[in-house]
Point group: C2
Chain length 405, copies 2
């Protein structure tokens, strides 16, 4: 295990094994590309002035500048950053890094990259089963297509926001069961959805050319945590026949640090077997998930403790499926996993599941109960792999519910 | 009626009453902002060198440079262009225009603007009824929400392409009725959808602030023709419960010229009454459609002749509904109407409707028949308002089907 000359506080998610990229705004109001290390940030554009980086990044302003590179360059740059930070770094290298360090507390994190197309999948079999039971109590919980393809849909890019952004409770049409026609007002069933998203990089793919499943991960730069805020009452009324729309498009929160796929390599685990076997274009030589622990807190109370490792459809399958019709993927596309849920109580990634659509309220540490979110509630999702010096943490994605306007 | 010193061929869609913006690539390979007039194009960036435009557009490279302005500026710039082109223009003004003219045949049109969020609505009551009858023959053709809100969903931005781009037949999963499980291969039910799309401009709206219905049209810069190519067999298998995805995301074609809303003012007509009356946020003091004739040809044979005027949900209602949850609209968002269909045979905007899902083939002028599109077929959509010197034409959006790879 390489260690760093730079002091990294114990328990920090941002170890030398991690090195995630993010975008911050410094005191002068300028947007800068950063790498998190302990409780500091390396201003990569400033580092490029003092060190001879493998790729020109002088003045880099956001993670967009990294996403447009390719996997071999991402690897080289990462190796160089590790070398500059490791105990074996020369005094000159250390000086170059020191000249580019900014304390995390002095800056404001902003949306890390320009979100191009945003897709939300539905790839946890436990979540799809839980939702199916709640939505269609008299039918089979899983629809016939679910085990044959990773179901997904396009979401709204303009309202993907960074952690810390307040989320205003949306207004919309809902249809109470006992009303003859819909009513308008603030959503009364505001929920979170715990998700994990991957971000594509490299050049845009070629229109008409699918990405083979064996090549899919080469197009994935890294991973963020996602809260896919959902207005359940709006969704129930609007979603037939073309899918969720205003129930989701008011806000989607992501964590500020994009964790590179390379950093997650030690935590890759076999993905669960699939039954039935999917069509050949979705078959993988080696199915791999990520052993990524996830926790959701509402106002500090842990309500969900689960893991990303058992997702039925892998990221590679999602990308291979999505491009099999020849669609284009671009640097900055965001692909969310769908809600990550387990089968046991307390492992489900949404309130609609945790409370059985409001039938069984949960109790927070202050003694109050929740079926769905109240105004003023803060939802915080954390994620981490491993522990100690080898830990790779995602930090968190948090947001507070503002009352409807 | 103002007339122009510049010769405009009879029957041209690009009269002095029109002045649509587009993006072209000139001989040097550079992208330029253009205004169509007759069979020529004004290079706006070049015009800005010789004339004192109301807004700095020197070197303008695409319609993006127009979309970021606002309605008052769009109006001023339009008035200035009309003045420069009218019979009363000074010799100096005429020289400035002449110095910026490029023959249309010498350039290549490209995607006019950077597509941000793309939404597809479902706003023709005839289309929704026709589809409902075909998809759910035993139920009510219109779902309960349809008359209460403009149903819509997000589509894929990366594959919005300009007219003239070939469209490769997508491969995908389909589930034949008599098969125990899905099969993979080229779509066998490839269709077009005749649509009309509006493009938003001005600054990005404020997150959390809905756009009131009375203000909605201030955010619309102009209109394009849209072909929302659809793989019906892929759609039927994938679309439950989250809506169409790969059945649409392989390609969406738009016409190269964005016709400004100002140019369509003489063709605004009362929109049809609504029953029941919608909720207050969707009520309009004056409901207005556009008397816009639309025609679809397959390999030159006219198969659809219809009109945009009778859409049940107006553009203003679509925008007011979509933002009522506080979502952000951006310059360059594309909002397609959904398939424009009438009730009579020959007025439906898709083959699935024209042929009753393949039961009644149509015959082309060469004697061949079609249920859905064959490889090599060219689909051309034309649109125009009015006639003679006062006509405002959209030109066309065309695309040819390439065989699956």
């Amino acid at each position: 295990m390489t260690s760093s000359w730079l002091e990294i506080p114990a328990g920090s998610p941002f170890t030398l094994a991690n090195l995630p990229y993010g975008t911050f705004v410094d005191g002068s109001g300028e947007s800068r590309l950063g790498v998190a290390i302990g409780d500091q940030i390396i201003d990569v554009g400033a580092l490029a002035e003092g060190a001879d980086l493998v790729v020109p990044l002088s003045g880099a302003t956001s993670v967009d500048d990294v996403l447009r590179l390719d996997r071999p360059t991402w690897r080289e740059l990462r190796a160089q950053l590790v070398a500059l930070l490791s105990d074996s770094a020369s005094p000159g290298d250390r000086d170059a890094v020191r000249g580019a360090l900014v304390p995390s507390v002095d800056v404001r994190m902003v949306l890390p990259f320009t979100v191009r197309d945003y897709v939300d999948f539905y790839s946890s079999i436990e979540h799809a089963t839980n939702l199916g039971r709640l939505m269609r109590p008299d039918g089979e919980p899983l629809l016939p297509n679910w085990r044959h393809l990773p179901v997904g849909y396009h979401g709204r890019s303009s309202t993907v926001v960074v952690s810390g952004t307040d989320v205003r409770r949306p207004k919309g049409q809902t249809k109470p069961a006992d009303a003859p026609s819909p009513v308008f007002g603030p959503s009364r069933l505001l929920d979170f959805e715990l998700e994990v998203g991957f971000v594509t990089g490299g050049g845009a793919s070629v229109h008409g050319d699918p990405i083979a499943i064996g090549d899919a991960e080469d197009h994935i730069y890294g991973i963020v945590l996602v809260n896919d805020w959902s207005a359940r009452d709006v969704q129930a009324w609007e979603y037939q026949p073309l899918g969720p729309f205003l129930a989701k498009s008011f806000a989607t929160s992501i964590s500020p640090w994009v964790v590179p796929l390379e950093a997650l390599e030690p935590f890759r685990v076999p993905a669960p077997p699939q039954d039935p076997e999917p069509l050949p274009y979705l078959q993988e030589a080696k199915r791999r998930g990520i052993d990524l622990r996830l926790r959701v807190r509402v106002n500090g109370t842990a309500v969900t403790d689960t893991n990303f490792r058992d997702m039925y459809w892998t990221m590679a399958q999602q990308l291979a499926h999505m491009t099999v019709n020849g669609t284009i993927i671009s640097p900055g596309d965001l692909y969310a996993s769908g809600t990550v849920s387990g089968a046991q109580q307390g492992t489900q990634g949404s309130l609609i599941e945790l409370t059985s659509r409001g039938a069984n309220p949960i109790t927070l540490d202050d003694g109050s109960t929740r079926t769905f979110l109240d105004d003023g509630d803060t939802v915080t999702i954390d994620g981490w792999c491993g522990d100690g010096d080898a830990a790779v943490g995602f930090g968190s994605v948090a947001g507070t519910v503002l009352p409807a306007r």
